[in-house]
């Protein structure tokens, strides 16, 4: 396939389409994924092309969606489940944590759970309550799950395609405010391994690490820092469980400083694990503590306050300054 200009949402749609074509055991299910094509149109046209049997509108019950998807996986299907918004995954949390995550281990490997749970997440779109959250840490702590988040259309395509082919359950967080970002997507290039981080901009003075919606922000910060004579390296972590600590470590060994940026609240967030492990690995290399920029320990605020809550250019640059001041 030649390179195409696609939005991130469209790239996901293409990945689903490819997966549905390649493997007849792939199913797409969730609320409003059929006729409507999903509230973000990520599943647009799929039911029309693949039928109601493979692209199923589910009743409004998230535990039911994930629970029946587990049963479908047991009988040989590969369900790709959509949760309509980040804040609505919690009714399914029990099925995900106590069932989906454990069945492979409990069965001594005889059962596989090749399921993807797609969750549009994060803020920045001026939405109402429960529509802007970043709960990835609540899944990364749970053994048996993998957690990833693409930052751009190309990764969106390839990472979703890889997640669907994975025999492990993958929680796939889609940065909803980047759904309309466009890029040239080369659908024929070979992708990186799913859980491998990537240096998206090399630099020498400090490493900025983000994933999903914050990678773009980190890139903007690195660009802005040039004017001040600072060279920032930007990492796209791509995966939150596992985290590719090797790539992070190599970067920090070059730059000696690390700032992690995510939208989720900092307290008990992914930045904590990254800080703890990188500090252990790079104790003598780090010239400043690993700093974190993220949400506050507060419920995601009403839309008109979200820019106060979300990491932005100034806050990232402020953290960079703090780090460099050590």
């Amino acid at each position: 396939m030649p390179a195409e200009r696609l939005t991130l949402a469209r790239a996901l749609n293409e990945a689903l389409r490819t997966a549905l074509e390649e493997d007849s055991s792939v199913l797409v299910m969730g609320e409003d994924v059929g006729t409507l094509g999903g509230v973000f149109r990520v599943t647009d046209g799929l039911q029309k092309d693949f039928g109601q049997d493979r692209v199923m509108d589910s009743p409004l019950a998230e535990s039911g969606i994930v629970g029946t998807a587990i049963g479908l996986a047991l009988v040989g299907y590969r369900p790709v489940v959509e949760i309509q918004f980040d804040g609505f995954v919690f009714p399914a949390y029990d099925q995900i944590v106590t069932q989906l995550a454990k069945l492979h281990a409990r069965s001594h490997g005889t059962i596989r759970m090749p399921m993807v749970i797609r969750i549009p997440y994060g803020g920045g779109i001026g939405a109402v309550e429960h529509h802007s959250e970043s709960p990835e840490a609540l899944f990364a702590h749970v053994a048996g799950l993998k957690v990833v988040s693409p930052s751009n259309p190309t990764d969106a395509y390839w990472m979703l395609w890889q997640a669907i082919r994975s025999d492990d359950p993958v929680i796939f967080f889609e940065p909803k405010r980047r759904y309309w970002d466009t890029a040239e997507v080369d659908l024929s290039a070979r992708p990186d391994p799913l859980h491998q981080a990537r240096v998206v901009r090399p630099g020498t003075d400090l490493t900025l690490a983000g994933y999903g919606p914050t990678v773009q922000l980190c890139l903007e910060a690195a660009e802005a820092a040039v004017a001040e004579g600072k060279s920032l390296e930007v990492l796209d972590l791509r995966s939150v469980s596992p985290v590719d600590f090797d790539t992070v470590q190599r970067s920090v060994e070059r730059t000696h400083r690390l700032v992690v940026v995510h939208e989720a609240p900092v307290f008990f967030g992914a930045g904590a694990e990254i800080a703890a492990r990188v500090t252990t690995r790079c104790f003598y290399t780090l010239e400043a503590p690993v700093l974190r920029v993220g949400g506050y320990h507060a419920p995601y605020p009403a839309a008109r306050l979200e820019k106060e809550f979300l990491p932005d250019l100034d806050r990232v640059l402020d953290a960079v300054d703090h780090s460099l001041a050590y």
Binding site: G34, A61, F88, P91, L305, D314
Partner: protein
């Protein structure tokens, strides 16, 4: 005058009469098909003569009519405001006025209402200031009003979860020896959520005085009711050990009567009651939705002909000889309300940035304190508030 500029204190017009439920039963048992309860036909005619129609009272009907028109006026204005970029989102209520206003008028002031996110007409009847609902959808707050003032709880956006709150609230009312009741409003889609089923179980076991009021508007976003459940829905309650009935949700009179009977039933300690009000969402799910993707114009037309406001108006003007001036006055009031809302919306103050940290805890939390301090310090670091 209450917070919403509504002259009538909420829910005082219809004190419960002990034998109302009996009257309703008598009415039902005289009907050939005791299926869906309807007192007013879509053409605005009474199904039975006035003296055999439970709760028939032209004054009440005019009060219902007035609130339905006010609610639609508010709703239409809010939808327009959203289109103009003043609101982030709006879930229109148009079509569901009879279900909401009819039931709300059956409540007492000390009953407590648990709405979902589309109960603007119930809110109006309870005396909630419409601007407070606007605030929520403008993104100024995640709450909007003090529920204690109107006994109208905050909107709940996580579908179905408030059915349990209503049940617990009702359990508490019973524990306190109060004869007030709780009512939970939710949609057809919500009945699939486990929480609603658990609410049924808890309410039944505890004989909690709670009315479950389901507005079956035929759709959960793009999913028609057949894709959500195998009906008939009103029978769901029986399997949990309590009564359920189906009512024509576009017939304000029938909705009022059945809700009143349900409230009497639950107040008397008989346990919960389920009402399925069959109605229709005439507009989009929310202003972000495009219903033309999933439903046929013919269906919309079919239901538009069953507009609950038209039905009541037809009845009042034909059967009851209500003077045209009444309708004009109500229209004028609704226009004024819309005008006031438009004006007030535009001047709603932006929330203070520090509000992010407010009320996370009632008794404080060291991490919140530390983060608030750093936040203030950070903002102080910008000279002369250049980023204000």
């Amino acid at each position: 005058m209450t917070a919403n500029g509504n002259q009538r204190p909420p829910g005082t017009d219809e004190p419960a009469v002990p034998d109302f439920a009996d009257a309703l039963n008598a009415f039902m048992s005289h009907r050939e098909d005791p299926g869906m309860l309807q007192l007013l036909t879509p053409e605005g005619a009474l199904v039975a003569p006035p003296d055999r129609t439970p709760g028939y009272d032209p004054e009440l009907l005019r009060a219902l009519y007035r609130d339905m028109v006010m609610a639609r006026g508010f709703d239409t204005e809010a939808t327009a405001l959203q289109r103009q970029g003043e609101l982030g989102l709006w879930p229109p209520l148009a079509g569901q006025e009879a279900a909401q206003v009819g039931s709300a008028h059956a409540l007492r002031a000390d009953d407590y209402v648990f709405p979902s996110y589309r109960e603007h007409a119930v809110a109006w009847c309870r005396g909630v200031n419409p601007l407070d609902i606007i605030k929520l959808y403008r993104g100024v707050t995640n709450g909007g009003w003090d529920p204690r003032e109107t006994n109208f709880h905050l909107y709940t956006l996580v579908v179905g979860s408030h059915a349990l709150h209503a049940t617990g609230y009702a359990m508490g009312l019973a524990k306190k020896g109060s004869d007030a009741a709780a009512i939970a409003y939710f949609g057809d889609g919500a009945t699939s959520e486990g929480d609603v089923a658990e609410a049924f179980t808890f309410a039944a076991v505890h004989s909690a005085p709670v009315v479950f009021f389901c507005q079956n508007n035929q759709w959960a976003i793009s999913e028609p009711v057949e894709r959500q459940l195998r009906g008939p829905l009103y029978r769901r309650a029986d399997g949990f050990g309590f009564p359920g009935v189906q009512v024509d949700g576009n017939d304000a009179l029938a909705v009022h009567a059945v809700t009143r009977a349900a409230l009497e039933h639950v107040r008397a300690g008989n346990g919960p009651f389920f009402i399925e009000a069959s109605t229709y969402r005439m507009g989009a799910h929310t202003t972000s939705d495009d219903p033309t993707r999933y439903r046929r114009p013919a269906e919309v037309e079919h239901w538009r002909a069953r507009d609950p406001i038209v039905r009541l108006r037809t009845h009042l003007s034909h059967a009851d000889d209500t003077a045209p001036v009444f309708f004009e006055e109500v229209e004028e009031e609704a226009r004024k309300l819309a005008h006031r809302i438009r004006h007030d919306t535009r001047i709603l103050p932006h929330p203070h940035r520090l509000a992010v940290f407010d009320h996370v805890y009632a008794e404080g939390h060291a991490v919140v304190d530390e983060e608030r301090e750093q936040f203030e310090e950070y903002h102080r670091s910008f000279a002369d508030g250049e980023t204000e």
